[in-house]
């Protein structure tokens, strides 16, 4: 039996380590199985430097046609499972064909790598970056090892950030004016605003603000849209009268938001909306949805 098992065991152990592995930040990522894992965090234009170690199993040698490492940026659409669209692919050859008898390390470096898109785990789509080491072999399958990295890209404060202000209503029934102080929010931002009641003829029970994420994948007729409500935040309890002004203060930090992604590689978009909902005593809902832009703020200390 031992023999047999030995036959299927990988002939060597491949590991990828980063030069700054100890100090580099890690992102906590929820995996498909629900567990969280820590993944090294990068941003675009960074150097990805490290080394690959190949350690043949005890007393074995690895015969190969070359060793390479690739940095891949992939988009995976779940309805099209198994198909990956690589939008980035960089290769470094690590070794010429030969044989490895004992542990051998190969430093690698991808300098100022362009990683325009952020890593993303959505409902219908996944965008990920991986380092892939391939030991090419004849006759038997290549030996491959993957290392996920997580990419987040930071944006400076937008120079223009208009408020959202709008008057909406149902004729002779309800007129409100709402205002959100900004239209672009960073992930730890606070939505501040107010709702001003111009006319109230219905018996309102309460009012809440929802944060909704709309993920659309594919294009044309094959567009899939998935909407999630990430937050339901009660703004008001009871029925206001004309002239009341209700404050809004919603902290975004408790919610798992991502920045807004617009038309990522023509494959998908993730957009965020604020949905203001008024509920009357008969549980009828009156709402108005406004898109907001979410971005990842470049922290400047």
């Amino acid at each position: 039996m031992n023999y047999l098992i030995g036959a299927f065991k990988p002939p060597c152990k491949v590991s990828i380590t980063f030069a700054d592995g100890r100090t580099r930040k890690q992102a906590s990522i929820k995996k498909e199985n629900g567990q969280t894992a820590l993944v090294p965090l990068f941003q675009s234009q960074e150097n990805i430097v490290g080394e690959v170690a190949i350690e043949p199993a005890q007393g074995k040698k690895v015969e190969h046609n070359g060793v390479k490492i690739e940095l891949l940026g992939q988009i995976e659409l779940y309805f099209d499972r198994g198909n990956f669209y690589d939008f980035t692919s960089l290769v470094r050859e690590l070794d010429v064909p030969g044989e490895i008898y004992e542990r051998k390390t190969y430093p690698f470096e991808f300098s100022t790598v362009e990683m325009p898109y952020e890593s993303y785990n959505g409902v219908n789509v996944r965008l990920r970056y991986i380092l892939k080491v391939t030991i090419s072999r004849n006759y038997v399958g290549n030996i491959m090892e993957y290392q996920d990295i997580w990419v987040r890209n930071y944006t400076p404060l937008p120079s223009i950030n208009n408020s959202i202000k709008m008057e909406v209503g149902i004729e002779d029934c309800l007129h409100i004016e709402f205002e959100y102080g900004k239209s672009k929010f960073h992930l730890k931002d606070v939505i501040v605003g107010k709702i001003y009641f111009l006319l109230v003829r219905i018996k309102i029970k309460n009012m809440e603000l929802e944060i909704r994420r709309r993920e659309s994948t594919g294009s044309g007729p094959n567009t899939y849209v998935e909407t999630e409500t990430l937050a339901k935040f009660e703004l008001m309890d009871g029925a206001p009268v004309r002239g009341e002004s209700i404050p809004i203060r919603l902290f975004l930090s408790p919610y798992e938001l991502t920045p807004t992604y617009r038309n990522i590689n023509n494959k998908f978009s993730v957009k965020y909306y604020l949905n203001l909902v008024l509920v009357d005593e008969e549980d009828r809902r009156y709402f108005k949805q406004q898109e907001i832009t979410v971005y990842r703020l470049l922290e400047t200390f």
């Binding site: 703004l235 008001m236 309890d237």
Partner: protein
Amino acid sequence: MTMISESIEDEDKWLAEGIAGLQHNAFYMHRALDSNNLRDALKYSAQMLSELRTSRLTPHKYYELYMRAFDELRKLEMFFKEETKRGCSIIDLYELVQHAGNILPRLYLLCTVGSVYIKSKEAPAKDVLKDLVEMCRGIQHPVRGLFLRSYLSQISRDKLPDIGSEYEGDADTVMDAVEFELQNFTEMNKLWVRMQHQGPAREKEKREKERNELRDLVGKNLHVLSQIEGVDLEMYKETVLPRVLEQVVNCKDELAQYYLMDCIIQVFPDEYHLQTLETLLGACPQLQPTVDIKTVLSQLMERLSNYAASSAEVLPEFLQVEAFSKLSNAIGKVIEAQVDMPVVGAITLYVSLLTFTLRVHSDRLDYVDQVLGACVKKLTGKPKLGDNKATKQIMALLSAPLEKYNDIVTALNLSNYPRVMDYLDDGTNKVMAVVIIQSIMKNTTCISTADKVEALFELIKGLIRDLDGTPVDVLDEEDFKEEQNSVARLIHMLYNEDPEEMLKIICTVRKHILQGGPKRLPFTVPPLIFSALKLVRRLQGQEGDVVGEEMAVTPKKIFQLLHQTIEALSIVPSSELALRLYLQCAEAANDCDLEPVTYEFFTQAFILYEEEIADSKAQVTAIHLIIGTLQRMGIFGVENRDTLTHKATGYSAKLLKKPDQCKAVYACAHLFWVDDQDGVKDGERVLLCLKRALRIANAAQQMANVTRGSSGPVTLFVEILNKYLYFFEKGNPQITSSVIQGLIELITTEMQSDNTVSDPSADAFFGSTLRYIQFQKQKGGAMGEKYEPIKV
């Protein structure tokens, strides 16, 4: 009934459920607190507070739930405080609690952390407070909002950036404290007012009751405002009052307006009210027409009067701010604005104003009159008051000056006083008149000029004469007597030293009382007569002093007046009384040496006797009065005297009953023997009278014999014997001891006669008389000698 009880049961059940839910989560919250688990503490406290989101409880029950939550929040607050000591940033905590999805728990938590935040002084108190009061806008449900804001008020009370407070900031933070309280007040009031529109219309009454239970939550804010050290007069005047009033006026809600106006008046210092009177009063006419402003204003005036009474030093302030005219104006405007206000309301307001005036400006009669005048103006064009309450208020209005000044004379200067009285119904008018008289009597006020008397009688005219349309016959006899007696007493209080003025007074009174009609005259004429006679006596005393001066007032003049007055009485007819009064006058005229006048009075008396007095008993009384009076008249010449005595004797003998005849006739004997120096002493005619009396007595005996078969008692004889003895002693030469002796024997014989019924009292009388004779005999001296011959 069952529906109600069911709903109560339901409510108890819901409350129990609420408490259970609250306790359940509080338990886990405690565990989290004990293990310093902030995340769980927040989670369970939010869940606990979610119980307060219920809409099913009445405010009363909701309060119970709230109080439990309140206690739990105190523990949480302690925990937050410790948490910050352990290194958790208060700013983070302040954010963290705002992650709660439900607004009500979120805001309770925010207030709780806010309290810790302020204490930490990591941010200025004013900023935190401003944020809290602003965020609380999210609760628009009236009951939940009121309780939440009440909580905010509670936790912030000791943390306001007031002057001298440890939370006082750099500059002008008092203003922030005030702004905070004002805002919380405004919002709470809005919620409170709005409560009435929640739910079905048919439960409105119940809702109003519930709403009333919550009023102190709103009022508490005003109380806190009044406690803020930095709210000085300036700030009160410029900021606090205008803002509060703005809210009060704009809320357009009866219940709230009434309560809050009252609250303002009660919680802020009187001095402030005085200095902001115009603003405060200016709000009154803007209130809803149904608001009970009269009570509000009454309270205000009551407080101001107390304030005025508290120290003499504050009085100038009242003058300086023209408190009276401001109040007066305001009341006018309120009455004008509240078209539907019942008359009683308006009058009540005037009563309050009057009370205020009397207490604060007691020296300003013009103010008092002004108030009464305003009241008249309000009543003008309205019929007399049928409304009991309004009548009572008018009574109060009219009584107040009397009580204050204890002097009707002051009230008589009030030109509007009688005009107000005119609006009372007749019955009440009388009652008021009696009150006025009682006040005069109690204070023994002397009314000393004819003008005042005129005014007074105008006031009490309800008692003096029949007012138009009075149903005379429904009058209660007792009450009537009582009233008229009080008028009679009043007449004696009208007095002036100066005869001329006094005569004027008498004329005035006369003018009024002569309108009184037959029922009143018997009560009112006598006091007038005696009052006039008093004047006569006074003049009589002074006569010597005023010789040479032209006398405007002479007894003669007065007697003429009296004559006419009594005449009025005799027409009524009240002849017996008139007769007595004539005799009184005669006596006075006699003393004034006015023979013709005296004679005239007697003539009138006799005419009355002849023409009007038919009743035999009355005749007896009258003739004795005449005799008695006539006996004392020293003024008459022989002729007049003869005429009068002759008449008297003649009428005496013509009385119906023999015994009466007898008594009158022997009384007449005195007419001829006046026991003083210049008196008539006509012994013969005395004897004639006595003999005549004896004859009549005899006739009486015989008549008794005939009619009853037995003689009457000897009483008459004994009486005559006594008369004999009297004149005997006085030295009438016609009365001799032998005549007396004869009479004694006659009596003795009579007594022994079989026909005579013995009468113990007559026997005793005779016995006493004899003993008297015996006594005189034994006395010795001249009298003893005189009696000597008489044997008994």
